[in-house]
Symmetry: C2
Subunit: 468 residues, 2 copies
Amino acid sequence: MSSITPVILVGGSGKRLWPLSRESMPKQFVPLLGTQSTFQQTLQRVADRGLFARPVIATNDAYRFMAEQQAKEIGMEIEILVEPSRRDSGPAMAAAAAYARSQGAKALLALASDHLVIGAEEFRAGCREGLLAVGQGGIVTFGIPPTEPKTDYGYIRPGSQSIGPVQKVAAFVEKPNAQTALRYIAEGLLWNSGNFLFPPDVLLSEMARFEPAMAAAAEEAVAKARKNGSTVFLDADAFAKAPAKSIDYAVMERTDKCWVVPARFRWSDLGTWDALLDIGEADSAGNVTEGPVEIDHVRNSYVRSDGPLTAVIGVEEVVVVAMNDAVLVGHRDNLPRLKDVVQRMSDGKHKAATEHAVMHRPWGSYQDIDRGERFRAKRLSVNPKGKLSLQSHKRRAEHWVVVRGVAEVTLDGKIMTLHENESIYIPMGGIHRLANPGEEQLEVVEVQTGDYLEEDDIIRYEDIYARV
Amino acid sequence: MSSITPVILVGGSGKRLWPLSRESMPKQFVPLLGTQSTFQQTLQRVADRGLFARPVIATNDAYRFMAEQQAKEIGMEIEILVEPSRRDSGPAMAAAAAYARSQGAKALLALASDHLVIGAEEFRAGCREGLLAVGQGGIVTFGIPPTEPKTDYGYIRPGSQSIGPVQKVAAFVEKPNAQTALRYIAEGLLWNSGNFLFPPDVLLSEMARFEPAMAAAAEEAVAKARKNGSTVFLDADAFAKAPAKSIDYAVMERTDKCWVVPARFRWSDLGTWDALLDIGEADSAGNVTEGPVEIDHVRNSYVRSDGPLTAVIGVEEVVVVAMNDAVLVGHRDNLPRLKDVVQRMSDGKHKAATEHAVMHRPWGSYQDIDRGERFRAKRLSVNPKGKLSLQSHKRRAEHWVVVRGVAEVTLDGKIMTLHENESIYIPMGGIHRLANPGEEQLEVVEVQTGDYLEEDDIIRYEDIYARV
């Protein structure tokens, strides 16, 4: 049996799970359930090297460091395919297919990075079954047996032809209304999970039939790609020529080569907060709670705190998600409105609409811990071997106190080592760099003083992440 | 016309307005409406020296520094009467009466510190009218014309006798059910606001009739009181002998000397969050909002944020109060349950149930801004002329960075002055003190490192607030 190359698609800003998911760190990177992100859970789902090759992550420049960091945390090796612009899933899938084909892949498994799958063994069994149709040039999708008449999923109508448990797709059908959804369930239709298994050349040749410009642009972007270690940068000019269109519209709904494996695993696209209530373990009143929360006379609600002590009293069918810098309260019926509400807040000057308190950088992360009229305090967390750029500031001085690990500090050409409980003063204009030479995380409390304390007061002289 | 001595009663932990109100800083000290606390608003209501003498604040040891600080902020001179133990309002009022009498007061105005009054001129007019009955030995209460059939207030039935607009009280009646409340309104009963105007000796002689032990204990506690500047410490042993009972049960419901002035000012006891919705300016959907909040399809709700960006979608008749460290979501009908819920959370290990992020001290305040495995960061805010105790720590070192104002630092006998953007290291065991010699607030970011970072690792050598 030939092995499968997983391609994990990492994009999208996940507004519908705000405030846990925000543009600066969208839902696939957030530990929504347990301690790992769905991106990490997806990686682990394809960790079996007997069946799967090393995964390829198709993402953009903003998220590639996060993908790298999160893969490293769980000890997974990955390749990264960087999309130079957002062109929807069609071009992304085509470029992934062209790249995988160039590496000799015979079967490609395209997975969303933000879905939940419960049942890793059943998932792998589904992949093995799908290979039967892939071997005959089929494009296989995973169909989920519906548990309720959902109106926000597309459905798949299986046909009569089959190879083992894999059935030919008669039609992909659009999101139905509630009544039609009930009929679909009665007729044996399946939810379209949007994850696909296929031979790369079949996807590309089908795309060449229906969307020749898209296929050509993707193949050219791969042919002209620039490789740096295990990161592949698609050619920007070529990729930009691809029409922006989803893979469903571009190929799946038009080709006659689609097959469906009925899934025996539990699945959710974690599309809205409601999904967390569906999946969580509810108490006798139908509530799922997480974190420091106290509920009283509450029914059928999801109450979660990632920080603040949260009391909820006398409500039903609501979702409450509390973080230190952002709070959501919504009736379950109205959650589809969240995306618009977040968009509205993003248009204003509310930082928390789009940015988490913790901001991720290639070298680690930082977070604001205090702010006043002429000062700002941050905690910097530098990964082992991480290195900030060599830089200076025109309008602020900085005090650094090492609170964990070992720091290598460069200041005006001098290099010194600071340990826990040691501090240093970086005067205004001083050319400096902070690095973590150790094996343990480095944590520094930074107190800035000055009359202007924004991120754009920075002159970069050198950067190992090529941000100069 | 003799002038009135206001006595402002400051006690109670205000659980029903959690999380803005917490035991560490209860509702009377919190700016619930606008920028001033209700305590400060109460002080300003009696600022007219033509009618009122310098106010006396009856409070406990925990709250006296806060009362002092808040009075200073608005430039009001006060006297403080410190109750050595909590004995309910009867003994507090008796001690205040005994103290005021000893200072020559002829009329005492006992005011709650956590009520809202809109209409300062009408309030003063009510006091002047009340003096008519006080001149004839009456105890006068302010009756509020009901606006709805409230079941959580006591009511007053006026009798036929009157002096000008002041009517004799026929009876105080207990909190009614909804139907009875409607009848009370029809019969012209008034809400009992719990604020009283009376000659101190009349209150004391009436108390001596009904509760002789209480009256005797209060008089003895005043006779043996210790005075320090404008602070009077009631004698603890004497005061402890007073039975704990409210002034209503002890005197008001038993005496035949009560009169009532119908109020022409707007009044609220701010008993629950609902009151803020009653009082605030509602939009066309009946919502009152405050702070960085975004509402969508919300009706008849109070949504307030004192920090986090807060989105509320598709709910009705709810109260949402968001702070960085604590969040409340409650249906308006169930708000009376909040007190119990907060009590339940207090029993656990949730700091935010009882303590605010900002902790007040005689010298100013501090707040945790970050915390990790072997470190803790705080911002210290020291009032002008404020002085922390001379102290040392066994298990932590401290780094101080001055971010505003001027610091006088004592370290192992040496005194030095630090300005903005200067820092100092306090080694473990170093005997040190931080003080603000200036006229402006001093702000310091403190980074502690060590293996134990709690408040109780402190040896105090000297303290200007007598906490050694």
